[in-house]
Subunit: 150 residues, 2 copies
């Protein structure tokens, strides 16, 4: 088996994040990958849809549509930012076994909870993801706080 | 202060669940209550919208729209069924302090996690909620399993 090219999929999540930024939204993106193929891509839709539930990961899950448990159990979810409690909960609900995180310096989500439930969390510590969030938060701190319930 | 009439709000959540059932969906409903007033109502939309993220509680949050952290911290969320990991995660993300659960005999969600994080979880053990789910699961066991990632 070839080694998985995490960067390729993280780049797809970053592209989603940038799409969100271009729409005036919060630049967090995600892709859901099944057997080496992206089956759902998404980005935070708080601003665009007035949505408190469509974080990047949630939007990727939503866009992947209804899947069986068997599919989720063969998936990896990529996200530009460490997954919050809601997104981590969705990962636990569906039994997604691997989460690849762009960065967690801006925000440390529920990585510990995920690991305690047997999810493999891999951190890429991407400077691009970090700088994207730092720049965004510098511009719109209140919007960011709203997104994480602060 | 008058005692809170939990049953009144649970009834509103049950009405949402029944609406979902009438649409061919999964009968789980929820209302988000702020200072004694419902600010968001919702029901599971898996079938109706092909949505894996719009559980009852998530739909209620979505329909309440964007709220500040200050509002969420004064909210109570009512749900006909014990909240799964995703919905519990959303409750934790937004710091909703009180969750009123119709029943947890059909499905035990993340009540322990919620309590461990300081959320007050109140169980009403409603026969109406229980019977509604039992009847539904008897009819459509596969749809139910899909909804809880089994």
């Amino acid at each position: 088996m070839e080694p998985i090219d995490h960067q390729q999929f993280l780049n797809a999540a970053i592209a989603e994040a940038k799409k969100g930024l271009g729409e005036g939204g919060i630049p967090i993106g995600s892709v859901l990958v099944h057997q080496g193929k992206i089956i759902g891509s998404g980005h935070n839709k708080r601003v665009q849809n007035g949505s408190p539930v469509l974080h990047g990961e949630m939007d990727a899950l939503e866009n992947a549509g209804r899947q069986t448990a068997a599919v989720y159990r063969e998936c990896t979810i990529y996200t530009t930012l460490s997954p919050c409690a809601m997104c981590s909960g969705a990962i636990l609900l569906y039994g997604i076994p691997i989460v690849v995180v762009g960065e967690n310096r801006t925000f440390m989500g529920e990585e510990e909870l995920l690991r305690s439930r047997g999810v493999h969390v891999e951190l890429l510590d991407s400077p691009e993801c970090y700088e994207m969030m730092q720049s965004f938060i510098g511009d719109k701190p209140q919007l960011w706080n709203e997104d994480i319930g602060v």
